[in-house]
Symmetry: C2
Subunit: 242 residues, 2 copies
């Protein structure tokens, strides 16, 4: 199993000005290619904090994705943080500089050129369908915070890290509540260790009380866990089987 972590950067998120939208998009991308997102950390725009976090996450996960803090202004310190985590200086990417000069032409300023900063030794991930590259330093992908642009980079991630096998997700919706399901769940969970089994009460859908989920990389094992749980339930308590 391959593992991943995300580092979401931005005062605007922690102050409640905007809601993060990138974790969901990243999680779904990774799920479809069989990579487990194990941890997300959200921090303020502080270079020391980012460096410490990147250092910790990149040594304990196969891949790390940062989101945010990559523009040219004083509060964009992600590149400096990643560089510090790997003990390298911030450099200017000649390829990105060429792209910026092409885009801004005569209007280009030193401020615009600040967007060509990369941690020294980083590579650029690109493919023909994604015009602007993603910066990758070792196993750390430096991705933008703006949701539309973050989402545009996901094909690059899938292409680079795809395992050829995604997670299988099945579900059962039932009118039973968790208190009544607990005994059955405990038995099925202990007999199906490779399957991640979840139980989620609902409070805003009158059709069912609990959604049970069955996830894993092995379709046979996932199906077998779901069927084992279904066998414990009275048929009229089952509202939907996915």
């Amino acid at each position: 199993m391959r593992t991943a972590a995300a580092l979401v950067i931005g005062n605007e998120l922690l102050s409640g000005k905007i809601q993060d939208q990138n974790v969901l998009v990243l999680a779904r991308t990774l799920r479809a290619i069989g990579v487990e997102l194990q941890r997300v950390v959200m921090v303020l725009d502080d270079v020391g904090t980012i460096a410490a976090e990147v250092s910790a996450l990149s040594s304990t996960h196969d891949a790390v994705f940062t989101s945010g803090g990559v523009g040219p202004t004083h509060d964009d310190v992600t590149v400096a943080g990643v560089a510090r985590a790997f003990g390298v200086p911030v450099a200017r990417s000649p390829e990105i500089e060429v792209m910026l000069r092409g885009y801004y032409g005569d209007r280009i300023t030193e401020g615009h050129l600040a967007m060509a900063k990369i941690p020294e030794g980083a590579r650029l991930a690109r493919n023909p369908a994604v015009p602007w590259p993603a910066i990758v330093k070792e196993n750390v992908w430096i991705l933008p915070g703006v949701p539309q642009i973050f989402a545009m980079k996901m094909p690059l991630v899938a292409e680079a890290l795809g395992t050829g096998r995604g997670y299988v997700s099945l579900a059962v919706h039932t009118t039973l509540d968790e208190g009544n399901l607990k005994e059955h769940l405990d038995r099925v969970v202990s007999a199906h260790a490779q399957v991640d089994i979840g139980s989620y009460p609902t409070f805003d859908d009158v059709r069912y009380r609990t959604k049970l989920t069955f996830d894993g990389l092995d379709e046979v094992a996932v199906t077998s866990a779901r069927d084992a749980l279904l066998a414990c339930l009275a048929p009229d308590s089952v509202v939907a089987i996915d």
Copy 2:
């Protein structure tokens, strides 16, 4: 300044099945009462991970809020994680047991009673407007993951931690891009150290290119930073002043 961290727990979030909604609600609650949310960590349903995280966050922040993992089933391990972080056993709360017995009556099961679990020595935060209490162990608030119920607990948080002074947030929307603003911003940022100044490009609003934000606990300082930046901008580049 008082500080806070959040620990958001749940496989369903990291697998992209659902999107977290509680961080935004918590962030706004804390902002309004003058508490700085500095860090959010999202982890899987694993008792060891939760214990390590609670231990780290509770020793470095004035208050910690967990979200999720508080039901009766096998994947609800937050209470056990918080108990382990403080080196105490899981106990059963007599007050919560009475409430559960009142709610379920004769239909109550051991599964339902599992919802009375608390870390030994935890207190219950409650007020007349919030029928179900929140469990608080030392400086750690154990809150439910279901968004409607999480939001219902916010008045308890505000009542317990309110400082009587919230953050002041001002903003300027401008047609200038970040590359052209950088020089002005750098000057204003270095002259107004107490004010948190942010710069956010937009890609989906044709009326402006960049939103500049000015935040802090001191209204005079925040207003002064905003006005210093405004003084650098040509009036026709300013779309809105908040």
